[in-house]
Amino acid sequence: MKGLLLAAASSLLCVAAVTVVFRIVDVRRRAAAMLGIFLATIPLYVAAYALTPADLWLLPEWLVEPRSFLCGAFGLFVHATLFFGGWLQVYNLAERGFSLRILVDIDESPGRALSPEEEEAAYGGGLGMGWMLDKRIDGLLSTRLMVERAGCLLATPKGARAARLFGGLRAFLQIETPQ
């Protein structure tokens, strides 16, 4: 139980730090900044786990684990899950989610209703749908999965490896081209 409680506390500390940083600093690579903050909370978690008593001054005996290392590792796994499967996904959805952006556009429109043509122009807070594709291409260029040479986009060796892996998995799982 100690591991779980410290994991929850570390996760809350992590998201609080992310909020403070995003509010006071103009961060260009936000996902990388979030990852850095998460990594900084790991030594804090380990230190808190090592320096506090097994019962955290409040847990009943039946919630105290006899195997301290296993409980600590479990807490670390939960902390990592809450970050990678929780906060980072919330950020990804808010920053990159196509469907979510459509819902927000409709919600923020004056009459809270949009036709497909109006959504095409209003997408991304008025940037338009064409911007969405450019944003994804620029993202692939900045992560060096693709390069642009003489007006043509080419897969880098890293991009080719990713394409082989994901293409193979998509074919195996019978996933069709998404819309």
Partner: protein, 166 residues
Amino acid sequence: MNPDALGTAFGAGAAWTAAAVVVHFAIFHFARVEHRARTVTLLFALAAVATLWTCLLLDVDRWRAVYGMVVVACSFLLYMPFYYTLAASQSVQLVIEVRAAPHGLSREQIRRRYPVQETLAGRLETLAWAGYIVGVDGRFVLTFKGRLVSLPFRAIKKLWRLGPGG
């Protein structure tokens, strides 16, 4: 208290998670699945129940059995984003298509492959099918479910000072 109870619970959770992933791959490979996300969710839910059953069978106390189920829940939280990236990410699709083209693709060629109207129409159809929006007089409005999703994300975007996103 059995000192091995925690390890047994974690082992059961990890083993049933692995089983859920293997069954997921097998089902999707051999059958045409219509409700894909629901199927994966169901498989992990079954893995959680199986973990509880295994723990109780091995005399693990109920509290540690719940830890085993937490292992399955955490694995689900990590697996679903991976699956969605694989299944629905446009960036993944783009990099696959660019690699498949012998001389690469220009931005214009990519725009032709992903016509804006068709992409948007497809996504609006999906959102309507899932009950997030509904068509009224040629326009789309949010349903209650759609607003439930939109509102917290609008708040997060404001709190974290994110860009328009999308």
